[in-house]
Symmetry: C2
Subunit: 350 residues, 2 copies
DNA sequence: CTGAAAGCGCTTACAG
DNA sequence: CTGAAAGCGCTTACAG
């Protein structure tokens, strides 16, 4: 099968009886300002359809134009595509907004090096420049590469707050701190006065924000509330840990991440404890697998993904980009695992 | 902040005191065949490092023709990114192979029209051409657009067998028919002689293949096996249906899709039935959410995704592409829900 | 051994 | 209203 040559603007121009430059103007919606009559535009558009023209984005971006491509990159080892991946929902939001904005998405898979780590410049060149800009996902970051990207003037934004020294990179975040107030109020209203805050080892600034928001919410609560912060990895969240926590007087637990929440669910089962009968639980995160076992705050990951595209677009437009977009609102906790405090005397049920 | 200009080959050339063309040759490992002395190469490489040179991909692909981008498209209403989406695992495989092949992936989100349907040419031009080729996913298809794509000589492949009249489009499929033999053997060996085949309403050719494979496997089984094919939507798979099926003598059920399997799991629970005690069950599909409730065949979706990229690459290279790649092997059923036939007389357990 | 030049397909001043 | 031309940064014959 002989492959017909891919049409370019000059082919359209010939067919429509105009110059290639005129074709370019019509395609780029600059027809009006160049006073190209409607009839000419019409001819050009027909020729375009007839030939099945599509712009060569390499040429467009070489020239400095837009490619209509938004890149997604992560320094994480694995591209965030696994079904129950933490990042998946961000990507869904990014895609939704890309649809709405008429953009296509490039997943920069090629940046993955053989050892699984990801590097923008690892291959020697910045493939990302094919896109008009990029959204960077994930906890991992590579400050050198971020600096270099920034030096090159390549537009990009983060999802999640990331501090890179000396740089003010726009990012999208959720209003984690504000979400703590309804969490604390829900517990206090249910009668809890001693609460454990179960946190994961610090990886992201958002964790700090959440904890500070929690403490601030406790400070303004209607009753005195004692709290203990426990930072531990999932493996340390065992039945024994839960029992010890209860013995020490906590009647409720606020759990920071869905990983910890999963661990806690197992630990409760192992200890024959049921929420909220024996212990009230609120998770500050929702499980991407869905079916959250606990009452939880909804982190608006999808909305954050959408917002990231909008933010990136404004950076690309050269709008004086805000350092960050207004944080996306988290939904207050919903669920069934908050109840009255279990009587302290009650032994763990069988 | 003044933005330092991105270095190009001519900057290196000036610094190294050679011409830009010489720089290009050294960078492309064509130094040897052009007899460029080691000392010159050395100077060039030093200058390159000093300036932090990275080639401009747009320029490279403009010159060379390839963009290094592989497109993914679907005519389905929703782009396959939901966590437990049927297509997700294909996409994961595609991404893996893209990583291995040093390609980036373009998700053609912009092809979605306001009404949710997707069209390649809806916007007037074929955006897909910005990629070197594309993989098309999903049951839905638009024959007109497929024909047009083909007419344009745009390289593309399907995942899953799709018949488009008058066209021989390469596709990747799984060997569904062959997978039926171990399924039937597993049941026959466990003692089952009456089996229900629960199928979804016909949407894809693969369904036909599977059923034919099933019938063929029964025909060559070591014992006479009676089977009944039941085609029904999920909503019709109820406790009553299961009871009726058992009353009619079936001791085992082969369920075609994971949607049906989920419905069946609920129906069994409603009927207070437990597999394999009361009924043996094998699913011909695995649930993307994981945690398949039933013994099941593993459809090698990830491998199919990888294969699709390889197939597409061969089409792009202009290799005389086979109409289809060798079907990817399905893993035989594993799981816990096949046992001896329940005694016919046994009443449903409480 | 090395450089000057063409050309990939576009966009954008600029000149009519 | 429209076209000729420059130039984006590269690779690759081709000429010295």
């Amino acid at each position: 099968m002989t492959r017909p040559r891919i049409p370019r603007q000059s082919d359209i121009a010939r067919l429509a009886g105009v110059s290639q430059a005129t074709v370019s103007m019509v395609l780029n919606d600059r027809a009006a300002e160049n006073r190209i009559p409607e009839s000419t535009q019409q001819r050009i558009r027909e020729a375009m359809t007839e030939l099945g023209y599509a712009p060569n984005i390499a040429a467009q971006s070489l020239r400095g134009g837009r490619s209509g491509l938004i890149g997604v990159h992560t320094f994480e080892r694995v591209f965030p595509t696994a079904p129950d991946d933490y990042y998946r929902e961000f990507l869904n939001g990014i895609e939704e907004q890309a649809v709405d904005s008429g953009l296509d998405l490039v997943l920069f898979a090629s940046t993955q090096k053989p050892d699984g780590t990801r590097s923008i410049y690892g291959s020697g060149s910045n493939r990302m420049r094919l896109a008009d800009g990029a959204i960077i996902l994930g906890f991992e970051k590579n400050d050198d590469e971020i600096h270099r990207l920034s030096d090159e003037g390549f537009p990009f934004v983060f999802i999640g707050r990331r501090e890179v020294e000396g740089l003010d990179i726009p990012f999208v975040t959720a209003d984690y701190a504000a979400a703590m107030e309804p969490v604390v109020r829900t517990l206090v209203d249910a009668g809890h006065r001693t609460v454990t805050y179960l946190a994961a080892p610090l990886r992201a600034l958002a964790q700090q924000e959440r904890l500070e928001g929690f403490e601030a919410a406790i400070a303004v609560a209607e009753h005195d509330v004692t709290y203990r912060v426990e930072v531990r990895p999932e493996a340390d969240v065992t039945a024994d840990w839960v029992r010890a926590m209860r013995r020490s007087g906590s009647t409720a637990i606020v759990v920071e991440t869905f990983d910890l929440a999963r661990a806690l669910a197992s630990a409760l089962a192992d200890a024959n404890l049921v929420a909220p009968r024996d212990l009230s639980v609120i998770s500050l995160d929702d499980d991407p697998r869905g079916g959250g076992a606990f009452s939880h705050v909804r982190v608006p990951r999808r909305a954050m993904g959408r917002r990231a595209v909008e933010l990136l677009l404004s950076v690309i437009e050269g709008v004086d980009a805000p350092t960050f977009a207004a944080p996306v609102h988290c939904e207050p906790p919903t669920g069934e695992t908050v109840g009255a405090p279990a009587p302290a005397a009650l032994a763990p049920s069988a």
